[in-house]
């Protein structure tokens, strides 16, 4: 009654469905590009701003370097189309703000 081909199709469809719907708490698959396919500004942005969670572990020198990288990236983001400019300039402002905040806090600690 059930042909083996049908069983394979039903099973693979089910497995694909299970893999395709993420459980809550897991990353939702978007149209993510691999890092190598991203534009240079985007790779630089990701590299700088992916470190905010570790900001407290950086030395003042490292934080200063990150802030300089933020400042160097800003003019590149300003040349993007209106939507991406708005999104990424705001995100950059937040991550630069945090590095500057942590840097000031560390300098205060040393006083």
């Amino acid at each position: 009654m059930f042909k083996p081909v049908m069983v394979v199709v039903v099973l693979s469809t089910g497995l694909a469905g299970l893999g395709g719907i993420p459980a809550h708490g897991e990353p939702i698959p978007q149209t993510a590009k691999p890092a190598s396919q991203l534009e240079a500004w985007h790779r630089e942005f990701d590299d700088i701003c992916s470190r905010t969670e570790d900001a407290m572990t950086y030395t003042p020198t490292e934080l200063e370097a990150l802030i300089r990288r933020c400042d160097a990236l800003r003019p590149k983001l300003e040349k993007l189309d209106e939507t991406r400019r708005k999104v990424y300039l705001e995100r950059l402002r937040m991550c630069r703000g945090l590095y500057a905040y942590v840097l000031e806090s560390k300098r205060n600690e040393n006083k």
Binding site: P27, Q30, A32, R84, M94
Partner: protein, 267 residues
């Protein structure tokens, strides 16, 4: 006599009206399903559309604050982002998830502002552009909140406990949008209130960092760099400053004193 009575009545009326004008009107407490509701009207009415009504409760059950307010870039104040339809259709802001592709609850999440719509598709616009319209939502607040632990204030849901019990599992990362290294846990700490006898505030830095990340709060909301040097009054907080940025709008409200002032007072 009559003249005296009339004069007294006029005086009372003047006093009453002046005292009312000084105290202002009492803020109406929102209904549970409206707590955290945001109305966005930067461009909607210019485009002959109703303003957008955004319900925090359905979104916060699925995503941490950080995903939307840091990774996607939504401002912390209504209308502060200046979202345009074209932004959504390019896959940013609401369009990051509302793209007709992302799966949710076994179906595909609807597209936001994806392309020019004809009359038949106009109902899709109404899903968000719904202020003043009777729009049937896919999600019913009471059905949604029924199995979740209860809280007295806000929208009546204990979100923290709901997460602890695994009843909600907010997503903390969006592929292709969120980029971050391993998380460095922060330590919780106590804050001393100014009023004697008031229990200390136990601030869970750890929980707040998991939900918000670091840059959502520092330095925009909390700018003090040295612990104990910034002072936050309840008046400031109730005006939306510091803790009030979230705890007057979306997170449990200030009326829920014991949620923050939670350290037992030593006799």
């Amino acid at each position: 006599m009559n003249r005296n009575v009339s004069a007294a009545l006029v005086l009372i009326l003047i006093l009453c009206s002046s005292s009312l004008s000084q105290t202002g009107t009492k803020k109406k407490r929102p209904l549970p399903y409206d707590y955290g509701r945001v109305v966005i009207n930067n461009y909607s009415e210019q485009a002959d559309l109703a303003p957008v009504v955004f319900q925090h409760w359905i979104h916060r059950a699925r995503f941490t604050c950080r995903v939307c307010h840091v990774d996607i870039g939504f401002a912390m104040k209504a209308g502060g982002t200046g979202i345009k339809a074209v932004d959504n259709s390019r896959g940013y802001y609401c369009g990051t998830c509302h793209n007709g592709k992302a799966p949710t609850d076994g179906k595909v999440v609807f597209e936001a502002c994806s392309k020019p719509v004809n009359t038949a598709e106009a109902k899709r616009c109404d899903r968000c552009h719904s202020l003043g319209r009777k729009v049937q939502s896919d999600y019913d607040f009471f059905a949604f909140s029924q199995p979740l632990p209860k809280e007295r204030f806000g929208n009546g849901i204990d979100w923290e406990k709901s997460e602890e019990l695994g009843l909600i599992k907010p997503v903390a990362l969006l592929d292709g949008v969120s980029k971050r290294n391993a998380f460095s846990a922060q330590k919780d700490f106590a804050l001393n209130p100014k009023v004697e006898g008031m229990p200390d505030i136990i601030f869970s830095h750890k929980k707040h960092t998991v939900w918000n990340g670091c840059e959502l709060c520092h330095p925009d909301i909390f700018m003090g760099v040295k612990k104990g040097t910034s002072h936050y009054t309840m008046v400031d907080i109730s005006e939306g400053k510091s803790c009030g940025a979230c705890h007057t709008t979306v997170a449990f409200p200030l009326t829920d004193c014991q949620r923050c002032h939670s350290k037992p007072v030593q006799p």
